[in-house]
Amino acid sequence: MKENQKTYWKGIEQLSNDADFVKKNESEFPEYLPISETGGESSNRRDFLKLMGFGIAAASLAACEAPVRKAIPYLNKPVDVDPSVPNYYASTYVNGGDAVSVVVKTREGRPIKVEGNKYSTISKGGTSAQVEASVLSLYDKERLTGPLKDGAEIDWASLDREVTAKLTEIAAKGGQIRIVSNTVLSPTTKKAIGEFIAKYPTAQHVSYDAVSAYGITEGNKRSFGESMIPSYDFSKAKTIVSVGADFLGTWISPIEFSKQYATTRKINEHHREMSRHYHFESNLSLTGSNADYRTPITPAQVGSVVAAMYNAIATKAGQAKVSGGNAGDVAHLTAAANELWATRGKSLVVCGSNDPAVQVLINGINAMLGNYGTTIDTSAPVHYRQGDDAAMSTLAKDLNGGRISAVIFFNCNPLYNSAEASALTAGVAKASLTVSTSDRMDETASAVQYVAPDHHYLEQWNDAELRAGHLSLTQPTIAPLFSTRQAPESFLKWAGQTVEYYTYLQNNWKDTYFTMQGDVSNFQTFWDKSLYDGVVEFGGTTKDYSYDFAAASTAATSVAQNYKTEGSGLQLALYQKVGLGDGSQANNPWLQEMPDPITKATWDNYLTISMAHANELGITMKEGVTELVSLTVGGETVEVPALVQPGQAEGTVGLAVGYGRTKAGKVADALGVNAYPFMTKLNGANTMDVLAGVSVAATGKEYRIAQTQTHQTYMGRENVIQEATLDEYKQDTGAGRWHPHVYKDGEFVKPSKITLWSGHEYGNHHWALTIDMNSCTGCSACTVACQAENNIPVVGKQEVLNRREMAWIRIDRYYSAANPAGNKKELEEASANPEVTFQPMMCQHCNNAPCETVCPVAATTHSTEGLNQMTYNRCIGTRYCANNCPYKVRRFNWFKYHDNKQFDMNMAMNNDLGKMVLNPDVTVRARGVMEKCSMCVQRIQAGKLAAKREGRRPVDGEINMACASACPSDAITFGDLNDPHSKISQLLQIEEKKVGEKATERVVNEDRAYHVLEELNVNPNVWYMTKIRNKVKESTEA
């Protein structure tokens, strides 16, 4: 730690060393915690007597004969379903324009867990928090149980009859019909819609995306003459420049990009190279926090920064410069341009702006750098965003003008999440037929006449073309829970076809894709294999595009007009949260309680403001206690809590979309404010950047945001993060490592030389975990995966405020800056643009575990395989173990979270439908017991048993923890240290050294590997790898 003089902090209160905060954190539980369950009345003698009476009654009841329990077998057991044996099915997660190939684990015919499909060349087995959480949405009580007419139940036959009659009548009169949807990825669904249009020729299909990428498709149209989004390959890029594109969190295809990006961040002593990532943005995003160099810029600066970069590259490439591009002094801009040029052909510039003009310039930069054909592939365009903002505007106008007679909203909620929401709300009543296929009575469904609810994706047959030539099949993993019907089948019905959608899908595949391949001659074989694999790929068509430089100068003129840095006032940058995305899964409590990777806030959206801005407004924020501010945008005013966000660009505020739902369901309704109405238009595209007309005023009303960041603290032991720069690493692979020494008998020795414990022998397995902090992007897919796998309860906002969140794996997010902050001014400087490090933290499974020694009832013990075991039925809840845990990873069940009306939001444990998602192999914990990461012991046991049944040792990779398998950047590696060929042994470069006659000592030769808090010599089985930043030491300060 000698050279690393940085200050690390988790929240502003820690950085400023607030006296109150320090005092509270010295004690295990802060004093302000409400002790009483109800918060108000304290218990009295009567309650005591009542409780005692109940206790006696309960005890005598327990002594009676146990209740009769039934064992109900199948009537006719399906061949492939064996009770207690899981089945896995390849399928595809589809939510609007997002699609990920997945493998669904089912037990007794119930899907209980979603994992990534390793056969997919796009996501390569990675998932995201939203994908992991989607299985809970299947069991959402708020889903519609059947079709509705004007809010009353109706049967499908009547609905079909009435809708078809009305459609026919409208079509006969020449009335206009519109199908409105989000991006449709399924070619077969598109075909079905095509049949519908063929039947009703006045029908048109309009698609939109809540968070539009129309600017990119339109920009490509202007640059190359083709509306499309190309494939990006970050893995081939040595220099990555992003202007506001959160490609690891929310932009286009984040799982795919995380996989690719992570490959450029993996280093070892033989490969001491990594990509360099420059990032320019307003809000501190997940991607920005991973960048080597991040520069905060305002949305109004985006135009000039892009133009300046264009000109810098054009100068080197010998192309004509464009007008504008006077960016002024933007840190790292020149360096970025120089490096891009130096690595041309192996670089990539992306931009999150939805302004077509800006995207034209970005295309120009990439074209001049020769990135097309290397890091950008136009021959395999992706289909994730096909929304047409212009068509949507026209639709809103036509609807209000009474020019549209029928509108069908297909799996979309434009009355909430489109830029035209207010216009559509006003106009929808003017159509004579309105239909929605929403799965719940959402904002759109409650405004239409007929609701024909669609299946959840886990209940349906479908396909999806993720990018040209890359198909992924969706197969049902459960029979439809309710009387719902697949929307494309509805379209076929209304078009007069009686074919089942499954048959229709198969026929389409027989006619189209079966004929495109030559490997298999029998369709059934082809179909079965495609279903088994989940994915099918065909070669893309190669098409040469040439960049139209004339378009660049037109675009530059537009950019120069629209982006004026001088005199621009406060600007608002809307963004999507990594967890909640566009808000379509808002009623999913796992996503609501997942701490945002950056702000670590749960259950809310808020206005992110900079430290300087907060000082200006007189707002101080301490442990989530903040103030409401009134935000005015173009005449509309809302009150929203302010959150002081380090790294927020001066002159900007940020607000997340996806909140402020009114009709999503019990969990999501009334959380936060709806930011969609603040979207504006620029060059015909909806933009998330509000460049003018924004003002913020303090209200003085106190508000508490449920943040988790400061709940568990290491009391200033800062060596938990060990980091170095790439240059240092090239010199010394142990750079950044801190080797603690302890004074003993006149000399300094390694902490491992002094111990009270005699150690453990691991003859069978030795399970361990490594976490590469260089690859971890902080995306939090692991936290939700863990929640789903291990039946972790959701506790709700109030309990998070009480510091009682239950997550077994948390991602600690540390800010760091070069200088410590003493006064207000220094505080502002330190938090202007800090570096960020993510550290996933779970039970470290210490070999010398401090928790084990203090448990009075031996409820937590060590196994012969290296696991720190937690036995719930033995635990009496003294919480000594949690007190003694240096990593603060133990969680106490303060309440009974299941079958408890007070925890209604804990949907997976409080109603029969929700309970179907529980993992039957993991106990649902009772009140009053401690719990923590078990290293997915149920998976270890199942994997060992499978091997034993086959009379062999488990194969490396066969057993994997839920977090490691979810990780889209392969930062977490789980394995057996006793297996010298396992990936983890190779990663850690394990060497068995003989010490004495019999005993061997295991030596970890990887220099980057370290234990958090090594000086305590608790000797964990979890290893961390140092964070390496590809930046030059001198320029740490922006």
């Binding site: 327990a62 146990a66 064992a71 199948y74 003859g763 012969t864 696991l867 075991q869």
Partner: protein, 414 residues
Amino acid sequence: MVAKTTIVRYATACLLVCCFVFSGKQVFAQRDAVPTDPEIISQGEQLFSEYQCNTCHKVESKLVGPALAGVYDRREIDWIYKWVKNSQALVAAGDAQAVALFNEFNKVPMAPYDLEDAQILSIMAYVRNVEENPPAQDTAVAADGSGAAAGGSGVPSSYLNIIVAALVVVLILILVVLVIIIGVLKRYLQDKEGLSEADEDVVNEGFSLVAFVKSPTVIGIITFLVIALAAKNVIDGLYTVGVQQGYQPEQPIAFSHKIHAGDYEIACQYCHTGVEIGKSANIPSVNICMNCHSFIKTDSPEIQKLYAAQESGKPIEWVRIHNLPDLAYFNHSQHVKVGGIECQTCHGEIQEMAVVKQHAPLTMGWCIDCHRNTSLNTQGNGYYDKLVELHNNNSGTPMKVADIGGLECAKCHY
């Protein structure tokens, strides 16, 4: 799993076949074509149990299908091959023998089996071996099984009782002798003149029952005994809370394991399909019952309940007998497939139970005892090779479950 010997005994049957009917009419005398090589016989025995031939066939007597003994005398071997591979194809082709056989056995088709000719021959070798060398009756193993199940205490309880009874007898004898000695001494003193005062007291001592009962010693002893007895009962009672050993509820259908597993010797796995693959052994679904009961005992009112379930679409609600608390994880395949434990070890002599009852206490102590005392079945299982080697280096005793972490909390609780 039915005890080993019983398997061996009835393992005789064999799915191949069915045959004969034309007794003596055609004798092919191909017995000699059936090999007697022990290796082939053991291969046949393995196939016989693997394919669960015994569900429908015995060697010496009829079951669902014909007895297998002598099948090689009655039929041509090539015909047997065809029949086993696809009996219905033969029937459909109008083969006279096949049709006659099919009709004789109530038109119950024999399922087609994907076996090689050599494999079928090996099963016949096994049948021939059983026919020519009938296994000796052996009941010792069943007793063995229950002995192992009790596990734990080293001395059988009957010995303890005898020792206690002997001790009591000896004590009573000593008491009687002492009383006699006192009487003799007293009489001697009475006969003597000029006794000292102390001796006089002894001789004239009166016995007052009231005084005796009221004496603090007696009250103390009685109080102690009452409290101790009460405490013991309470503690014993508390230990049995939730323990349902002997639980024998009435089931919706009077299914008898004695008939199925005992008399007909149907392998347990035939119905309990999950026992080697999963956590749960599985209560059979109605379609499994219907494999046989679509034609066997169709008139029985109990069997009628199966048809009723089939028609109404309502599954049968059996009363669950073996209830483990949710916090304990138990996996059948670990014990049966990997460990090779007999079903009877935990479930008792199930083949003799007309109504099933819970044999074992299913308490944690009972689990732990077994894990302490049971040697691991590691033969031929590559998973254990290294562990056995390590264990043998350090110890001379066989490797128990407890030696490889079988007592750790997270083996069952997570």
